[in-house]
């Protein structure tokens, strides 16, 4: 179910009413059923994958805890959990990619187009809930989290619908206990949650979806364009993906907040970062911190083999996003930027803030070319033609009506302007704390903007594909 759909507009009030009307002991069961319905709205069969990984991880967690003092047994259960989770991920997400690469390397013949490998459909949100599940067993193994004995609570930890399909990827210490608490409906939670939702919808429906029309027009047929058209589409994609994904995260946070739950902040004005490493501390924070905690630091962090560690972490991060060479290159390039950043820090620090922000943006945006391009061939064409035939009238070749350019530009500036003005990504919190008259005016202003400049075609969220 999409957050920006009519189905969700009906679903969410039903969940709110049902959750708070039911006696406490039935609420988790109701929330789990609602989450199942939310997930099954996309593809009912894939709920079985979730059920399977939940069962394995739940049991593995208990066994790891039972075997305290027997490190080898604990390890066995941890591996069992990792194999179950990563195995599902490998099969559904990477099987076709791995086979294609092997066939290229060793001249194997590819499986026929009607084979099971060629027709695997990626279960929605698989990468997200797999990583969240892994963080649970690893934390239990590390002794930082008690094994959960209530299967309902553990199932909700993985399946809580606001963050089920595109995060934030929560840690058990932050989320698990919240399912054991008694949540009371409060007007404070409701109005703050609704503000997060509205702000997220603005970012998604008004900023990202309007920009996507321009970006898609160019990136679907990049060979038809050169120079400024490619540049503008690449710059706009940076803001499209930010509006899309941070919008989703805000809606998720708001939805959870209305029900009395607290999810982590996933974005913190990333495009105002003054260095590449700062960008990665502000962009998709829940995933970046996951890779830091479970890959980068165990590899040695910045103490030894810094380049290797950064390289592996970012290459894996790239592959996490998609089974495609473009994502791999995107990850590696970002790793190189972060590596270079370490040695450029003294120099970067002396730059005026605006210049540092601009350089960081250009570097990050360059990498986005690989993320957005459908193939490596397209990405290389775009890079090769970014500076060719630099004529402003090349923008006129993009088949977009003038009003859409104006709306997209104005709304992008509005979003960045507001974020710049409040100096952090907690706009809804500041909005919530402002004077009543300001609250009401801004609420109506935002509603008006969403209604009249939003895209109501239920466009999916970019990160749903991961």
């Amino acid at each position: 179910m999409l957050f920006n759909s009519i189905a969700f507009v009906i679903f969410f009030p039903v969940v709110i009413a049902g959750y708070f009307l039911l006696p406490s002991k039935y609420r988790n069961a109701f929330l789990l059923l609602s989450s199942c319905y939310f997930y099954m709205y996309f593809n009912p069969v894939y709920i079985l994958i979730l059920a399977y990984t939940i069962a394995v991880d739940f049991y593995a967690g208990i066994q790891i805890e039972k075997n305290i003092g027997h490190r080898s047994k604990q390890k066995k259960w941890l591996y069992a959990s990792l194999v179950a989770n990563l195995g599902a991920l490998a099969f559904f997400k990477y099987a076709a990619f791995i086979l294609a690469n092997f066939s290229l390397l060793f001249h194997w013949s590819m499986p026929p187009s009607n084979s099971i490998f060629a027709n695997i459909v990626l279960p929605i949100g698989l990468s997200f809930h797999t990583f969240q599940a892994i963080s649970y067993t690893v934390e239990v193994y590390r002794g930082k989290q008690k094994a959960e004995r209530n299967w309902l609570v553990y199932s909700l930890y993985v399946m809580f619908f606001p963050q089920l399909v595109a995060g934030p990827i929560e840690r058990p210490q932050k989320l698990l206990h919240q399912f054991k608490e008694h949540h009371v409906f409060t007007s404070d939670n409701f109005s703050l949650g609704m503000k997060w939702i509205l702000w997220g919808l603005f970012k998604k429906m008004v900023v990202a979806d309007n920009l996507s029309t321009i970006v898609d027009a160019v990136y679907q047929h990049p060979q038809n364009y050169q120079g400024y058209a490619l540049m503008i589409a690449t710059v706009l994609f940076a803001f499209q993906i930010y509006g899309d994904f941070s919008g989703y995260s805000d809606i998720a946070r708001g939805t959870a907040r209305v029900l009395g739950f607290d999810l982590m902040i996933n974005f913190n004005m990333p495009y105002f970062s003054k260095s590449f490493s700062e960008f990665w501390r502000r962009w998709h924070i829940s995933l970046s911190s996951w890779f830091k905690e479970y890959v980068y630091i165990p590899l040695g962090g910045n103490q030894k083999w810094f380049f290797r560690n950064v390289f592996i972490t970012f290459a894996l991060s790239g592959l996490w996003h998609g089974a495609n060479h473009t994502f791999l290159v995107w990850g590696i390039l970002n790793g190189l930027l972060v590596f270079a950043n370490r040695y450029m820090n003294p120099w970067f620090g002396k730059l005026p803030a605006v210049l540092a922000i601009l350089i960081t943006f250009i570097g990050i945006d360059f990498c986005w070319i690989f993320f957005r391009a459908a193939t490596m061939h397209d990405a290389l064409y775009i890079i090769g033609n970014l500076f060719s035939n630099l004529q402003l009238n090349s923008l006129l070749q993009i088949p977009i009506e003038r009003h859409l350019w104006l709306i997209s530009g104005a709304m992008l500036l509005l979003m960045l302007g507001i974020e710049w003005a409040v100096k952090n990504s907690n706009l809804p919190v500041q909005w919530h704390a402002s004077k009543p008259i300001h609250r009401i005016v801004f609420l109506n202003f935002l509603l008006f903007i969403i209604l009249f400049f939003g895209v109501f075609e239920h466009r999916t969220f970019i990160y749903f594909q991961f």
């Binding site: 009413a17 109005s191 109506n444 008006f448 209604l451 400049f453 109501f456």
Partner: protein, 314 residues
């Protein structure tokens, strides 16, 4: 629950400026005449007396003016109107036209390959649902219930900013025909013709053929049962547009049509420039590369009328 009730009331109150404005806009938009409501209102006035009905897409809407027909006609064609819509219009309104003896249905390059319900012009379906009362099985869509979404919120705002003075029925005549004045000619250049033909070809989908064929089959059956003649008519096109069309698609359509006609013994007449001696259409007869203007429509309607008269006398 009292808290929930209280906050919902408060929410409605604080957002009231937005809802009041939307309600006002919705009310005014619903009162606004558009081409669909105008055509339907005119049709209701004329339905009992209608002897000849024109159906099809924009080529027929702008290409056939019932004022120049010997019989009393009404042009029910519209932009991007597919056979599937034509069939639903006939199914809905055929019984309300007791004097109908002829239906002229457009036979265009796009006829078998488009699907209004899923194509780029899908927004038009809501107007058919609202004003023509057609059931297009679109499921729950906001545009079927709110004028703001039917016109799209952005267009609605533009209409509001124009003081609701936007003329959405410009050129539409009481007989349903859309008159394009001769002095409002678009580009007839070779480049434009090629671009248009390419865009039209890109919009054609093999998967739409079945639905269109079934709809045409239904139309043939419906009219045969009532002994009403069906004229499948191809309006003239500019040469530079026609030469850029996909020949294979055209011949496949022709074969499809031939096989359908062979199966039926009812009164079906096919009029196309390939099989008939059309009068000469000059550049001054076109409003753009595939649409006639008022002069072209007059010439073409006279020609079709003469063919129908010959058939009637035989």
């Amino acid at each position: 629950m009292a808290a929930l009730r209280k906050i919902i009331i408060r929410l409605l109150l604080v957002t009231s400026p937005c809802w009041v404005f939307c309600s006002y806009l919705e009310f005014k938009l619903n009162a606004l005449e558009n081409s669909y409501s105008y055509k339907m209102n005119q049709f209701i006035v004329n339905e009992k007396a209608t002897e000849l009905l024109v159906l099809g897409n924009s080529e027929m809407l702008k290409g056939l003016n019932p004022s120049y027909l010997s019989s009393r006609g009404f042009n029910m064609a519209h932009v991007s109107q597919t056979y599937s819509i034509d069939e639903k219009i006939l199914a809905m309104y055929l019984d309300s036209m007791p004097n109908l003896h002829t239906v002229i249905l457009g036979l265009s390059y796009l006829s078998f390959g488009e699907n209004l319900e899923t194509g780029e012009e899908a927004w038009r379906t809501a107007f058919y649902e609202k004003h023509y009362k057609l059931n297009l099985n679109q499921g729950f869509e906001l545009k079927n219930y709110a004028a703001i979404f039917r016109y799209t919120p952005y267009e609605s705002l533009k209409i509001f900013l124009s003081g609701f003075k936007t003329n959405l029925t410009k050129g539409f005549q009481p007989n349903g025909y859309l008159l394009v004045p001769a002095n409002e000619q678009g580009s007839l250049s070779d480049e434009n013709a090629m671009a248009r033909a390419t865009a039209h070809t890109a919009g054609l989908k093999e998967s739409n053929k079945q639905k269109s064929t079934e709809a045409l089959g239904q139309i043939i059956q419906m009219l045969a049962q009532k002994n009403i003649s069906l004229w499948l008519v191809t309006p003239p096109l500019m040469k530079n547009y026609k030469s850029n069309l996909n020949e294979k698609w055209l011949s496949e359509n022709q074969n499809l049509l031939d096989s359908m006609i062979k199966k039926n013994t009812s009164k079906i007449f096919v009029v196309s420039p390939e099989t008939m001696n059309y009068p000469v259409f000059a550049e001054s007869d076109f409003s753009d590369v595939n649409h006639l203007n008022e002069h072209g429509a007059q010439k073409f309607t006279h020609y079709i009328d003469s063919l129908i008269k010959i058939q009637v006398t035989q």
